[in-house]
Subunit: 284 residues, 2 copies
């Protein structure tokens, strides 16, 4: 078979293969808490699960939890799909009232002083002097002064109007193309899609300006948006992040930076954070 | 309207806006020759146009021209769509005979000694010490020793088996996710999709290993693959690249590296080549 591109090192080795230094041990996989998962169900029944980065964007994530509790997203839509950029959803009319008590423009949670990565990549990229991983599997970047979450494929940000708007959290986008890192530090990054990217990434592209759908008939309806912790136990998604504070994960990074033969003949000697996203898996 | 993300600087300014230092002059736009465009027509009538990089991958591109002349792609298929990676097309059976005289494994045209960029980006990235642009609008990267074309969104490479296979050019892929730059220097990059990316990027993702479609019924049929130079004049696509060897283009780079207010409040001070792809436009 013309593979063209081999399985990444995230793939499970064949049953008989000896363990690799980058293989995780069972205890390296840690359950993602139910209140860190926001579950959108689309009209066609497909599910999109967003892991929430409450620690890095607490005010925006508090809003999003309140919006889910108020069932604010129920009946709303995916209304923008811009190729090589973002899929965006929420209220396209911008007229739906926010739940009472919700802060329409939270603080600008775009960057913070501490780069609390416990593992880092070998090389800088064009946007940061260093990038790495929080202990619990969030990608991070720094310029040596502040830290932030990078706009990589699958990361979720809060749509906003022109500054000083910071976005309520009701309108969200997921990156569906090359990481638009120029958005870093300009927008609140609030999470990452851990299930359903293949739905968000394959909708027809919008033909309006900026990829907006021109006709409401094109909208993809959202049946519901709920925190996993509010769903019946049997319906809750169950995911795990991989701990990053150990030698096995350091070996995983090195393997991403230097892909292995027999397919790869020229290791890159480096990787950018968007090509080495922290592993997340479905709990078995 | 919740824009979330403003138009890029590639977008035309409003009619009344004063010219910007990065605006192209009419003579900056140069026609792409007909024999540099490979036109695939899909079963649904949509067209995918690939600009061919004959100078950088001459043996592979010679093969591709021979395959088009032999109508080798007619009736073949898109058979692999791997999320955040590639859409791949050609002959999924691997049994179709190649035209006589075609070299099944051309030389490995993966890198070359001269980094002939006439404009460069301000910062290195995780994969190259410098990246920039050929005079005629190809993205280039270098490590200071060799040069190559980077795997960015929309770039087209030649699927191959394990080394020393280099791929005939019959099976091709286009990048549909974050630039998998680890493939640089491991595969022949032969061109760039300049029309039809929104088709290639939005097919349903394959559910087989590596994103292969599991059932032939899922294949997207290719009606034909032709060099534009062999099409009737009225059917030929007409595209232009933007010359990169002038101060206006240098200003364009600087504007990509430092996005402007009022949407952006924090310029990045750099951009990677995949977020600053050389401009190409449809001729009016």
């Amino acid at each position: 078979m013309l593979l063209s591109l081999l399985l990444s090192v995230q793939a499970a080795p064949p049953a008989a293969a000896p363990p690799k230094p980058y293989d995780a041990e069972p205890a390296d996989w840690v359950a993602i808490p139910d209140d860190e998962m926001l579950v959108f169900t689309l009209a066609d029944g497909r599910r999109v699960v967003v892991r929430l980065a409450a620690r890095y964007a607490p005010a925006h994530v508090a809003n999003m939890r309140a919006l889910a509790t108020a069932r604010w997203w129920d009946g709303e839509s995916v209304y923008r799909v811009q190729d090589n950029y973002v899929t965006q959803w929420g209220d396209p009319t911008e007229k739906k009232a926010l739940p009472s008590g919700l802060i329409a423009n939270p603080p600008a949670e775009y960057e913070w002083p501490a780069f609390d990565a416990v593992a880092t990549l070998a090389k800088p990229d064009s946007y940061s002097t260093r990038a790495g991983y929080s202990r619990d599997g969030w990608p991070l970047a720094t310029n040596g002064t502040t830290a932030w979450m990078p706009h990589c494929y699958g990361m979720v940000g809060v749509a906003r109007d022109l500054a000083p708007s910071t976005g309520s959290g009701g309108d969200l986008y997921a990156v569906i193309g090359h990481g638009p890192r120029h958005l870093d530090r300009n927008i609140a990054v609030v999470g990452r899609v851990i299930e359903g990217m293949e739905a968000l990434s394959s909708f027809p592209r919008g033909t309006g300006n900026l990829g907006f759908y021109e006709q409401p008939a094109q909208y993809v309806r959202i049946r519901s948006g709920r925190l996993a912790s509010t769903l019946p136990a049997a319906e809750r998604p169950r995911y795990q992040y991989r701990r990053t504070d150990n030698a096995r994960f350091a070996a995983w990074i090195a393997a991403r930076e230097n892909r292995e033969p027999p397919f790869f003949t020229m290791p890159a000697g480096g990787a950018d954070i968007c090509n080495a996203m922290p592993p997340v898996r479905k709990a078995s």
